[in-house]
Protein backbone atom coordinates (compact mmCIF):
# COMPACT_ATOMS: atom_id res chain seq x y z
CA UNK A 1 0.00 0.00 0.00
CA UNK A 2 1.22 3.52 -0.82
CA UNK A 3 2.45 5.61 2.11
CA UNK A 4 0.32 8.59 3.07
CA UNK A 5 2.22 11.84 2.47
CA UNK A 6 1.46 15.24 3.97
CA UNK A 7 1.73 18.42 1.91
CA UNK A 8 5.39 19.00 2.76
CA UNK A 9 6.30 15.45 1.84
CA UNK A 10 4.35 15.69 -1.41
CA UNK A 11 6.27 18.84 -2.26
CA UNK A 12 9.60 17.13 -1.51
CA UNK A 13 8.61 14.18 -3.68
CA UNK A 14 7.62 16.56 -6.47
CA UNK A 15 11.11 18.06 -6.37
CA UNK A 16 10.10 21.45 -4.95
CA UNK A 17 12.93 21.28 -2.39
CA UNK A 18 15.44 20.18 -5.01
CA UNK A 19 16.78 16.86 -6.26
CA UNK A 20 18.71 15.85 -3.12
CA UNK A 21 15.75 15.68 -0.68
CA UNK A 22 13.62 14.29 -3.52
CA UNK A 23 16.02 11.38 -4.00
CA UNK A 24 16.17 10.88 -0.23
CA UNK A 25 12.39 10.73 0.12
CA UNK A 26 12.09 8.32 -2.81
CA UNK A 27 14.55 6.00 -1.08
CA UNK A 28 12.61 6.26 2.18
CA UNK A 29 9.30 5.51 0.46
CA UNK A 30 10.81 2.43 -1.17
CA UNK A 31 11.94 1.13 2.21
CA UNK A 32 8.78 2.26 4.02
CA UNK A 33 6.46 0.56 1.57
CA UNK A 34 8.57 -2.61 1.73
CA UNK A 35 7.73 -2.74 5.45
CA UNK A 36 4.16 -1.52 5.12
CA UNK A 37 4.72 1.89 6.78
CA UNK A 38 1.52 3.96 6.77
CA UNK A 39 3.28 7.33 6.87
CA UNK A 40 6.36 9.23 8.03
CA UNK A 41 7.35 10.25 11.55
CA UNK A 42 9.49 13.36 12.24
CA UNK A 43 12.91 12.62 13.71
CA UNK A 44 15.09 14.88 15.83
CA UNK A 45 18.56 13.57 14.99
CA UNK A 46 20.31 11.20 12.62
CA UNK A 47 23.53 9.19 12.88
CA UNK A 48 25.25 7.85 9.76
CA UNK A 49 27.40 4.72 9.49
CA UNK A 50 29.59 5.31 6.46
CA UNK A 51 33.10 3.92 6.74
CA UNK A 52 34.77 3.79 3.34
CA UNK A 53 35.39 0.05 3.44
CA UNK A 54 31.60 -0.25 3.26
CA UNK A 55 31.06 2.65 0.89
CA UNK A 56 33.79 1.73 -1.58
CA UNK A 57 34.46 3.88 -4.62
CA UNK A 58 30.83 3.51 -5.70
CA UNK A 59 29.44 4.78 -2.41
CA UNK A 60 31.83 7.72 -2.26
CA UNK A 61 30.92 8.70 -5.83
CA UNK A 62 27.25 8.49 -4.86
CA UNK A 63 27.87 10.86 -1.94
CA UNK A 64 29.91 13.19 -4.12
CA UNK A 65 27.05 13.31 -6.60
CA UNK A 66 24.70 14.51 -3.87
CA UNK A 67 27.28 16.97 -2.54
CA UNK A 68 27.85 18.48 -5.99
CA UNK A 69 24.18 19.30 -6.46
CA UNK A 70 23.55 23.03 -6.62
CA UNK A 71 19.75 23.10 -7.04
CA UNK A 72 17.52 23.43 -4.00
CA UNK A 73 18.28 22.19 -0.50
CA UNK A 74 21.46 20.14 -0.24
CA UNK A 75 22.19 20.27 3.50
CA UNK A 76 20.64 18.16 6.25
CA UNK A 77 17.63 19.61 8.12
CA UNK A 78 18.29 18.13 11.56
CA UNK A 79 21.46 17.45 13.58
CA UNK A 80 23.15 14.64 11.65
CA UNK A 81 26.36 13.05 12.89
CA UNK A 82 28.69 10.23 11.87
CA UNK A 83 29.76 6.82 13.11
CA UNK A 84 33.52 6.02 13.17
CA UNK A 85 35.61 6.63 10.06
CA UNK A 86 37.75 3.96 8.44
CA UNK A 87 40.98 5.32 9.86
CA UNK A 88 42.74 7.45 12.42
CA UNK A 89 44.81 9.53 10.01
CA UNK A 90 47.53 9.96 12.63
CA UNK A 91 48.02 6.18 12.89
CA UNK A 92 47.18 5.09 9.34
CA UNK A 93 50.76 4.24 8.30
CA UNK A 94 51.28 2.15 11.41
CA UNK A 95 48.05 0.26 10.65
CA UNK A 96 49.33 -0.50 7.16
CA UNK A 97 46.54 1.45 5.48
CA UNK A 98 47.24 2.66 1.96
CA UNK A 99 47.00 6.07 0.34
CA UNK A 100 44.06 4.78 -1.72
CA UNK A 101 42.10 4.10 1.48
CA UNK A 102 42.98 7.48 2.94
CA UNK A 103 42.10 9.35 -0.25
CA UNK A 104 38.70 7.66 -0.24
CA UNK A 105 38.23 8.72 3.39
CA UNK A 106 39.10 12.33 2.61
CA UNK A 107 36.67 12.39 -0.30
CA UNK A 108 33.86 10.92 1.83
CA UNK A 109 34.50 13.47 4.59
CA UNK A 110 34.49 16.36 2.09
CA UNK A 111 31.19 15.18 0.64
CA UNK A 112 29.55 14.77 4.05
CA UNK A 113 30.67 18.24 5.09
CA UNK A 114 29.11 19.75 1.97
CA UNK A 115 25.88 18.00 2.93
CA UNK A 116 26.02 19.64 6.37
CA UNK A 117 26.85 16.47 8.29
CA UNK A 118 28.84 16.90 11.52
CA UNK A 119 31.85 14.55 11.52
CA UNK A 120 31.63 13.28 15.10
CA UNK A 121 33.01 9.85 14.11
CA UNK A 122 31.64 8.04 17.12
CA UNK A 123 29.59 4.93 17.87
CA UNK A 124 29.03 6.02 21.50
CA UNK A 125 27.18 9.26 20.78
CA UNK A 126 24.75 8.34 23.58
CA UNK A 127 27.70 8.75 25.98
CA UNK A 128 29.49 11.64 24.29
CA UNK A 129 27.24 13.80 22.08
CA UNK A 130 23.62 13.72 23.21
CA UNK A 131 21.67 10.75 24.51
CA UNK A 132 18.11 10.61 23.15
CA UNK A 133 15.23 10.76 25.57
CA UNK A 134 12.21 8.54 26.10
CA UNK A 135 9.86 8.47 23.10
CA UNK A 136 12.21 10.65 21.03
CA UNK A 137 12.07 9.44 17.42
CA UNK A 138 15.52 9.27 15.82
CA UNK A 139 17.25 7.75 12.80
CA UNK A 140 20.36 6.11 14.16
CA UNK A 141 22.91 4.01 12.33
CA UNK A 142 25.24 1.60 14.13
CA UNK A 143 23.34 -1.24 15.72
CA UNK A 144 24.99 -0.61 19.10
CA UNK A 145 23.68 2.95 19.12
CA UNK A 146 20.18 1.85 18.16
CA UNK A 147 19.84 -0.89 20.77
CA UNK A 148 21.21 1.36 23.54
CA UNK A 149 18.96 4.25 22.54
CA UNK A 150 15.84 2.09 22.26
CA UNK A 151 16.43 -0.03 25.34
CA UNK A 152 18.26 2.11 27.88
CA UNK A 153 16.97 5.54 26.82
CA UNK A 154 13.50 4.50 25.66
CA UNK A 155 13.97 6.34 22.36
CA UNK A 156 12.54 5.08 19.06
CA UNK A 157 14.74 4.11 16.15
CA UNK A 158 15.13 1.34 13.64
CA UNK A 159 18.51 0.26 12.32
CA UNK A 160 19.09 3.00 9.77
CA UNK A 161 21.90 2.11 7.39
CA UNK A 162 24.00 4.93 5.95
CA UNK A 163 21.81 5.78 2.94
CA UNK A 164 18.66 5.78 5.07
CA UNK A 165 20.14 7.75 7.97
CA UNK A 166 21.43 10.37 5.52
CA UNK A 167 18.00 10.45 3.90
CA UNK A 168 16.43 11.05 7.31
CA UNK A 169 18.86 13.91 7.90
CA UNK A 170 17.94 15.43 4.54
CA UNK A 171 14.17 15.10 4.97
CA UNK A 172 13.85 15.33 8.77
CA UNK A 173 11.68 12.21 8.93
CA UNK A 174 11.69 8.45 8.54
CA UNK A 175 9.08 5.85 7.60
CA UNK A 176 6.93 4.88 10.57
CA UNK A 177 7.50 1.12 10.93
CA UNK A 178 9.28 -1.24 13.28
CA UNK A 179 10.35 0.25 16.60
CA UNK A 180 8.64 3.59 15.97
CA UNK A 181 5.38 1.69 16.61
CA UNK A 182 4.46 1.07 20.27
CA UNK A 183 2.96 -2.35 19.54
CA UNK A 184 6.24 -3.65 18.12
CA UNK A 185 8.14 -2.61 21.25
CA UNK A 186 6.47 -5.24 23.42
CA UNK A 187 8.43 -8.32 24.40
CA UNK A 188 8.38 -11.42 22.22
CA UNK A 189 10.48 -13.74 24.38
CA UNK A 190 11.28 -13.93 28.11
CA UNK A 191 14.85 -14.61 29.16
CA UNK A 192 15.62 -15.61 32.75
CA UNK A 193 19.29 -15.24 33.68
CA UNK A 194 20.85 -16.80 36.77
CA UNK A 195 23.75 -14.44 37.27
CA UNK A 196 24.79 -10.85 36.66
CA UNK A 197 28.17 -10.39 34.95
CA UNK A 198 30.76 -8.07 36.41
CA UNK A 199 33.31 -7.79 33.57
CA UNK A 200 32.54 -6.14 30.24
CA UNK A 201 33.42 -9.30 28.30
CA UNK A 202 30.89 -11.15 30.47
CA UNK A 203 28.19 -8.61 29.65
CA UNK A 204 29.04 -8.94 25.98
CA UNK A 205 28.96 -12.73 26.12
CA UNK A 206 25.58 -12.64 27.88
CA UNK A 207 24.27 -10.29 25.20
CA UNK A 208 25.57 -12.69 22.55
CA UNK A 209 23.81 -15.69 24.09
CA UNK A 210 20.53 -13.76 24.30
CA UNK A 211 20.97 -12.45 20.75
CA UNK A 212 21.35 -15.99 19.43
CA UNK A 213 18.21 -17.14 21.28
CA UNK A 214 16.09 -14.18 20.18
CA UNK A 215 17.46 -14.60 16.68
CA UNK A 216 16.05 -11.86 14.46
CA UNK A 217 15.39 -8.13 14.21
CA UNK A 218 11.74 -8.27 15.19
CA UNK A 219 12.38 -10.18 18.42
CA UNK A 220 12.30 -8.18 21.66
CA UNK A 221 13.84 -10.05 24.61
CA UNK A 222 12.45 -9.28 28.07
CA UNK A 223 15.19 -10.11 30.53
CA UNK A 224 14.72 -10.99 34.20
CA UNK A 225 17.30 -11.75 36.87
CA UNK A 226 19.82 -8.92 36.42
CA UNK A 227 20.78 -7.70 39.88
CA UNK A 228 21.59 -4.14 40.88
CA UNK A 229 21.89 -1.08 38.66
CA UNK A 230 23.88 -1.72 35.50
CA UNK A 231 26.45 0.81 34.33
CA UNK A 232 26.40 2.52 30.95
CA UNK A 233 29.56 0.73 29.75
CA UNK A 234 28.14 -2.63 30.80
CA UNK A 235 24.92 -2.08 28.88
CA UNK A 236 26.95 -0.70 25.98
CA UNK A 237 28.75 -4.04 25.58
CA UNK A 238 25.61 -6.05 26.40
CA UNK A 239 23.49 -4.37 23.75
CA UNK A 240 26.17 -4.08 21.07
CA UNK A 241 26.81 -7.79 21.32
CA UNK A 242 23.11 -8.71 21.36
CA UNK A 243 22.61 -6.60 18.24
CA UNK A 244 25.63 -8.18 16.59
CA UNK A 245 24.80 -11.82 17.35
CA UNK A 246 21.06 -11.54 16.85
CA UNK A 247 20.30 -8.37 14.88
CA UNK A 248 18.34 -7.26 17.95
CA UNK A 249 17.35 -3.57 18.19
CA UNK A 250 15.46 -3.48 21.51
CA UNK A 251 15.47 -5.37 24.79
CA UNK A 252 13.85 -4.73 28.15
CA UNK A 253 15.42 -5.35 31.57
CA UNK A 254 12.56 -5.81 33.99
CA UNK A 255 12.73 -3.23 36.75
CA UNK A 256 15.64 -1.39 35.12
CA UNK A 257 14.96 -0.05 31.64
CA UNK A 258 12.34 2.69 31.25
CA UNK A 259 9.54 0.82 29.50
CA UNK A 260 9.73 -2.26 31.75
CA UNK A 261 9.02 -1.14 35.30
CA UNK A 262 7.08 -4.38 35.70
CA UNK A 263 7.12 -7.50 33.56
CA UNK A 264 3.47 -6.98 32.63
CA UNK A 265 4.28 -3.52 31.18
CA UNK A 266 6.04 -5.13 28.22
CA UNK A 267 5.23 -8.85 28.19
CA UNK A 268 2.12 -10.96 27.77
CA UNK A 269 1.69 -13.80 30.23
CA UNK A 270 2.12 -16.53 27.64
CA UNK A 271 5.49 -15.57 26.16
CA UNK A 272 7.98 -18.40 25.64
CA UNK A 273 10.60 -18.53 28.41
CA UNK A 274 14.30 -19.39 28.02
CA UNK A 275 16.83 -19.79 30.80
CA UNK A 276 20.38 -18.54 30.37
CA UNK A 277 22.94 -19.84 32.82
CA UNK A 278 26.46 -18.81 33.72
CA UNK A 279 27.59 -21.98 31.90
CA UNK A 280 25.94 -20.77 28.67
CA UNK A 281 27.80 -17.48 28.89
CA UNK A 282 31.12 -19.15 29.66
CA UNK A 283 30.59 -21.62 26.81
CA UNK A 284 30.20 -18.80 24.31
CA UNK A 285 33.41 -17.21 25.51
CA UNK A 286 35.32 -20.52 25.50
CA UNK A 287 34.15 -21.32 21.98
CA UNK A 288 36.42 -18.56 20.68
CA UNK A 289 39.47 -19.62 22.68
CA UNK A 290 41.13 -21.86 20.10
CA UNK A 291 44.73 -20.80 20.58
CA UNK A 292 46.96 -19.60 23.38
CA UNK A 293 49.22 -17.45 21.24
CA UNK A 294 48.15 -13.90 20.41
CA UNK A 295 49.36 -11.51 17.68
CA UNK A 296 47.51 -8.36 18.72
CA UNK A 297 45.24 -7.05 21.49
CA UNK A 298 42.37 -4.75 20.53
CA UNK A 299 39.92 -2.80 22.68
CA UNK A 300 37.23 -1.44 20.38
CA UNK A 301 33.63 -2.05 19.26
CA UNK A 302 32.19 -0.03 20.79
CA UNK A 303 34.69 2.81 21.21
CA UNK A 304 35.99 3.10 24.76
CA UNK A 305 34.55 5.55 27.26
CA UNK A 306 36.77 7.68 29.46
CA UNK A 307 36.14 5.25 32.33
CA UNK A 308 37.25 2.27 30.25
CA UNK A 309 40.43 4.11 29.25
CA UNK A 310 41.03 4.95 32.90
CA UNK A 311 40.68 1.26 33.83
CA UNK A 312 43.01 0.29 31.00
CA UNK A 313 45.60 2.88 32.03
CA UNK A 314 45.69 1.38 35.55
CA UNK A 315 46.31 -2.09 34.12
CA UNK A 316 49.13 -0.72 31.93
CA UNK A 317 51.09 0.89 34.76
CA UNK A 318 54.50 -0.77 35.17
CA UNK A 319 53.94 -3.16 32.24
CA UNK A 320 55.89 -3.56 28.99
CA UNK A 321 54.04 -5.06 26.06
CA UNK A 322 55.57 -7.57 23.68
CA UNK A 323 52.58 -7.28 21.33
CA UNK A 324 50.73 -4.35 19.79
CA UNK A 325 47.80 -3.22 21.95
CA UNK A 326 45.20 -0.92 20.40
CA UNK A 327 42.64 1.06 22.39
CA UNK A 328 40.11 2.81 20.16
CA UNK A 329 38.00 5.72 21.32
CA UNK A 330 36.01 8.64 20.01
CA UNK A 331 37.31 12.11 19.07
CA UNK A 332 35.29 13.46 22.01
CA UNK A 333 36.89 11.16 24.61
CA UNK A 334 40.47 11.20 23.26
CA UNK A 335 41.31 14.77 24.36
CA UNK A 336 40.09 13.99 27.88
CA UNK A 337 42.12 10.78 27.89
CA UNK A 338 45.14 12.86 26.91
CA UNK A 339 44.43 15.49 29.61
CA UNK A 340 43.92 12.88 32.32
CA UNK A 341 47.19 11.20 31.40
CA UNK A 342 45.51 7.91 30.43
CA UNK A 343 46.85 8.00 26.88
CA UNK A 344 50.42 8.54 28.09
CA UNK A 345 50.17 5.66 30.60
CA UNK A 346 48.83 3.26 27.95
CA UNK A 347 51.45 4.32 25.45
CA UNK A 348 54.26 4.12 28.02
CA UNK A 349 53.56 0.40 28.21
CA UNK A 350 53.74 0.14 24.43
CA UNK A 351 50.05 0.47 23.60
CA UNK A 352 48.40 2.81 21.11
CA UNK A 353 45.29 4.95 21.61
CA UNK A 354 43.44 5.57 18.37
CA UNK A 355 40.62 8.01 17.78
CA UNK A 356 37.63 8.37 15.48
CA UNK A 357 37.72 4.88 13.99
CA UNK A 358 36.60 1.43 15.03
CA UNK A 359 38.77 -1.61 14.39
CA UNK A 360 36.37 -3.68 12.31
CA UNK A 361 35.29 -0.64 10.25
CA UNK A 362 38.86 0.19 9.25
CA UNK A 363 39.80 -2.32 6.55
CA UNK A 364 40.38 -5.07 9.12
CA UNK A 365 41.24 -7.64 6.44
CA UNK A 366 43.90 -5.42 4.87
CA UNK A 367 45.31 -4.52 8.32
CA UNK A 368 45.60 -8.24 9.07
CA UNK A 369 47.50 -8.84 5.84
CA UNK A 370 49.74 -5.77 6.23
CA UNK A 371 50.62 -6.39 9.88
CA UNK A 372 50.42 -10.18 10.04
CA UNK A 373 47.78 -10.06 12.75
CA UNK A 374 45.56 -13.15 12.89
CA UNK A 375 45.17 -14.18 16.53
CA UNK A 376 43.42 -11.28 18.21
CA UNK A 377 42.47 -10.94 21.87
CA UNK A 378 39.73 -8.52 22.92
CA UNK A 379 37.15 -7.96 25.62
CA UNK A 380 34.50 -7.12 23.01
CA UNK A 381 32.07 -9.93 22.20
CA UNK A 382 30.84 -7.88 19.25
CA UNK A 383 34.35 -7.77 17.81
CA UNK A 384 34.91 -11.53 18.08
CA UNK A 385 31.58 -12.12 16.36
CA UNK A 386 32.55 -9.91 13.43
CA UNK A 387 36.21 -10.64 12.83
CA UNK A 388 35.98 -14.33 11.92
CA UNK A 389 34.73 -13.33 8.48
CA UNK A 390 37.74 -11.04 8.07
CA UNK A 391 40.20 -13.91 8.45
CA UNK A 392 41.07 -13.37 12.12
CA UNK A 393 41.06 -15.92 14.92
CA UNK A 394 39.47 -13.69 17.58
CA UNK A 395 39.44 -14.58 21.28
CA UNK A 396 37.28 -13.11 24.05
CA UNK A 397 38.67 -12.41 27.51
CA UNK A 398 38.60 -9.82 30.25
CA UNK A 399 40.43 -6.52 29.84
CA UNK A 400 42.90 -7.70 32.50
CA UNK A 401 43.62 -11.00 30.70
CA UNK A 402 44.03 -9.18 27.40
CA UNK A 403 46.56 -6.80 28.93
CA UNK A 404 48.41 -9.79 30.39
CA UNK A 405 48.44 -11.32 26.90
CA UNK A 406 49.95 -8.13 25.49
CA UNK A 407 52.83 -8.61 27.94
CA UNK A 408 53.38 -12.37 27.66
CA UNK A 409 52.11 -13.05 24.14
CA UNK A 410 49.82 -15.74 25.53
CA UNK A 411 46.17 -15.63 26.51
CA UNK A 412 45.33 -17.62 29.61
CA UNK A 413 42.32 -19.92 29.40
CA UNK A 414 39.25 -17.93 30.39
Amino acid sequence: MAMKLNDEESDILAGKAGPVPQQALRHQIKVGEFFGAADFVPVTQAHIMADTESLGEAGVQWLEGLAATTDGQRRVRIPTITDPRGTDFAKADWLGQTSVMLDLERRAIAAFEKLGVAMTNTCINYQTIQAPTRNEHAAFGDTGVVIYSNSVCGARSNFEGGPSALSAGLTGRTPRYGFHLPELRRGTVRIQVDHTPTMLNGWGALGGVIGRIAGNYWAVPVIEGIEGASKSDQLKHFGASMASFGSIALYHLVGLTPEAGRLSDVAAADLPVHSVTRADVEALQRSYHRDDQVDVVVFSAPQLSLYELGDLAKLCDGRRFSLPLLAVTSPQVKPDSDRMGYTARIEAAGGSVLSGMCFYQSYAREISEARGWKRLATNSAKLVNILGGYGYRPMLASMESCVDAAVSGKLMQT
Partner: protein, 135 residues
Protein backbone atom coordinates in the same frame (compact mmCIF):
# COMPACT_ATOMS: atom_id res chain seq x y z
CA UNK B 1 4.63 -29.42 -15.04
CA UNK B 2 3.65 -26.16 -13.32
CA UNK B 3 6.14 -24.14 -11.32
CA UNK B 4 6.11 -24.38 -7.53
CA UNK B 5 5.27 -20.92 -6.21
CA UNK B 6 5.87 -19.25 -2.84
CA UNK B 7 4.33 -15.90 -1.86
CA UNK B 8 6.34 -13.29 0.12
CA UNK B 9 5.00 -10.52 2.36
CA UNK B 10 7.84 -8.11 1.50
CA UNK B 11 9.26 -7.51 -1.96
CA UNK B 12 11.49 -5.08 -3.81
CA UNK B 13 13.51 -4.74 -7.01
CA UNK B 14 13.62 -6.22 -10.51
CA UNK B 15 12.48 -9.64 -11.75
CA UNK B 16 15.46 -12.02 -11.95
CA UNK B 17 16.11 -15.72 -12.69
CA UNK B 18 19.04 -17.82 -11.61
CA UNK B 19 20.38 -20.69 -9.53
CA UNK B 20 19.45 -20.78 -5.83
CA UNK B 21 22.12 -21.02 -3.16
CA UNK B 22 20.34 -22.17 -0.01
CA UNK B 23 21.25 -22.54 3.66
CA UNK B 24 19.50 -22.35 6.99
CA UNK B 25 21.81 -19.61 8.17
CA UNK B 26 21.90 -15.82 8.44
CA UNK B 27 23.27 -13.10 6.18
CA UNK B 28 25.39 -10.03 6.67
CA UNK B 29 27.69 -8.69 3.96
CA UNK B 30 30.22 -7.49 6.52
CA UNK B 31 30.23 -10.54 8.79
CA UNK B 32 29.90 -13.34 6.27
CA UNK B 33 31.52 -12.39 2.97
CA UNK B 34 34.89 -11.89 1.37
CA UNK B 35 33.57 -9.25 -1.00
CA UNK B 36 36.77 -9.16 -3.04
CA UNK B 37 36.75 -12.88 -3.84
CA UNK B 38 32.94 -13.08 -3.93
CA UNK B 39 32.68 -15.97 -1.48
CA UNK B 40 31.23 -16.65 1.97
CA UNK B 41 34.25 -16.32 4.24
CA UNK B 42 32.94 -16.65 7.78
CA UNK B 43 34.26 -20.09 8.81
CA UNK B 44 31.13 -21.02 10.78
CA UNK B 45 28.72 -20.09 7.97
CA UNK B 46 27.05 -23.03 6.28
CA UNK B 47 28.03 -21.64 2.87
CA UNK B 48 31.68 -20.99 3.81
CA UNK B 49 33.91 -21.11 0.74
CA UNK B 50 31.03 -20.96 -1.77
CA UNK B 51 30.63 -18.20 -4.35
CA UNK B 52 27.56 -16.00 -4.05
CA UNK B 53 28.10 -14.14 -7.32
CA UNK B 54 25.11 -14.37 -9.64
CA UNK B 55 23.24 -16.60 -7.20
CA UNK B 56 19.81 -16.16 -5.70
CA UNK B 57 20.61 -16.46 -2.01
CA UNK B 58 17.91 -18.20 0.02
CA UNK B 59 18.71 -17.78 3.71
CA UNK B 60 17.00 -17.63 7.06
CA UNK B 61 17.45 -14.16 8.48
CA UNK B 62 19.33 -10.89 8.24
CA UNK B 63 22.14 -10.65 10.79
CA UNK B 64 24.73 -8.26 12.00
CA UNK B 65 25.34 -4.60 11.51
CA UNK B 66 24.39 -1.75 9.26
CA UNK B 67 27.19 -2.00 6.69
CA UNK B 68 25.17 -4.12 4.26
CA UNK B 69 23.14 -1.00 3.48
CA UNK B 70 26.19 0.36 1.61
CA UNK B 71 27.85 -2.90 0.67
CA UNK B 72 25.22 -4.26 -1.73
CA UNK B 73 25.57 -1.04 -3.75
CA UNK B 74 29.36 -1.31 -3.71
CA UNK B 75 29.30 -5.02 -4.63
CA UNK B 76 26.92 -4.35 -7.51
CA UNK B 77 29.22 -1.66 -8.90
CA UNK B 78 31.91 -4.34 -9.30
CA UNK B 79 29.56 -7.09 -10.47
CA UNK B 80 30.41 -9.22 -7.40
CA UNK B 81 26.88 -9.38 -6.04
CA UNK B 82 24.09 -11.89 -5.48
CA UNK B 83 21.39 -11.79 -8.12
CA UNK B 84 18.72 -11.64 -5.43
CA UNK B 85 18.30 -12.21 -1.70
CA UNK B 86 15.41 -14.27 -0.32
CA UNK B 87 14.95 -14.46 3.44
CA UNK B 88 12.53 -15.88 5.95
CA UNK B 89 13.04 -12.76 8.07
CA UNK B 90 14.50 -9.47 6.86
CA UNK B 91 15.78 -6.50 8.83
CA UNK B 92 15.74 -2.83 7.74
CA UNK B 93 19.41 -2.86 6.76
CA UNK B 94 19.02 -5.53 4.10
CA UNK B 95 15.98 -3.73 2.72
CA UNK B 96 17.77 -0.36 2.72
CA UNK B 97 20.77 -1.95 1.00
CA UNK B 98 18.57 -3.58 -1.62
CA UNK B 99 16.84 -0.24 -2.22
CA UNK B 100 20.14 1.61 -2.82
CA UNK B 101 21.74 -1.21 -4.80
CA UNK B 102 18.60 -2.13 -6.77
CA UNK B 103 18.99 -5.78 -5.74
CA UNK B 104 15.88 -7.97 -5.92
CA UNK B 105 14.60 -9.08 -2.51
CA UNK B 106 11.78 -11.20 -1.11
CA UNK B 107 11.11 -11.87 2.57
CA UNK B 108 8.47 -13.34 4.85
CA UNK B 109 6.88 -16.63 3.78
CA UNK B 110 4.29 -18.92 5.34
CA UNK B 111 6.83 -21.74 5.48
CA UNK B 112 10.58 -22.03 6.03
CA UNK B 113 11.80 -21.02 2.60
CA UNK B 114 15.26 -22.49 3.22
CA UNK B 115 13.66 -25.93 3.64
CA UNK B 116 11.36 -25.50 0.64
CA UNK B 117 14.02 -24.64 -1.98
CA UNK B 118 16.84 -26.96 -3.06
CA UNK B 119 20.29 -25.50 -3.54
CA UNK B 120 21.06 -25.39 -7.24
CA UNK B 121 17.40 -25.17 -8.28
CA UNK B 122 16.63 -22.65 -11.01
CA UNK B 123 14.27 -20.06 -9.53
CA UNK B 124 12.59 -16.79 -10.49
CA UNK B 125 12.23 -13.86 -8.10
CA UNK B 126 9.28 -11.69 -9.07
CA UNK B 127 9.03 -8.74 -6.65
CA UNK B 128 6.17 -7.12 -8.55
CA UNK B 129 3.97 -10.10 -7.76
CA UNK B 130 5.81 -10.95 -4.52
CA UNK B 131 6.48 -14.47 -5.81
CA UNK B 132 9.33 -16.95 -5.74
CA UNK B 133 8.94 -19.59 -8.46
CA UNK B 134 10.87 -22.84 -8.81
CA UNK B 135 11.23 -23.28 -12.56
Amino acid sequence: MSAKIYRARHAMGPVVRGPALVASDGFSARYDLDRIKGIFSRPSHKLAGQSYVGKILVLDTAKGGVATAWMLHEMKSRGIVPLAIVLNSVNPILAQGAALGDVAMLAGFDEDITAAIQSGAEVEVDPQQRLLKVL
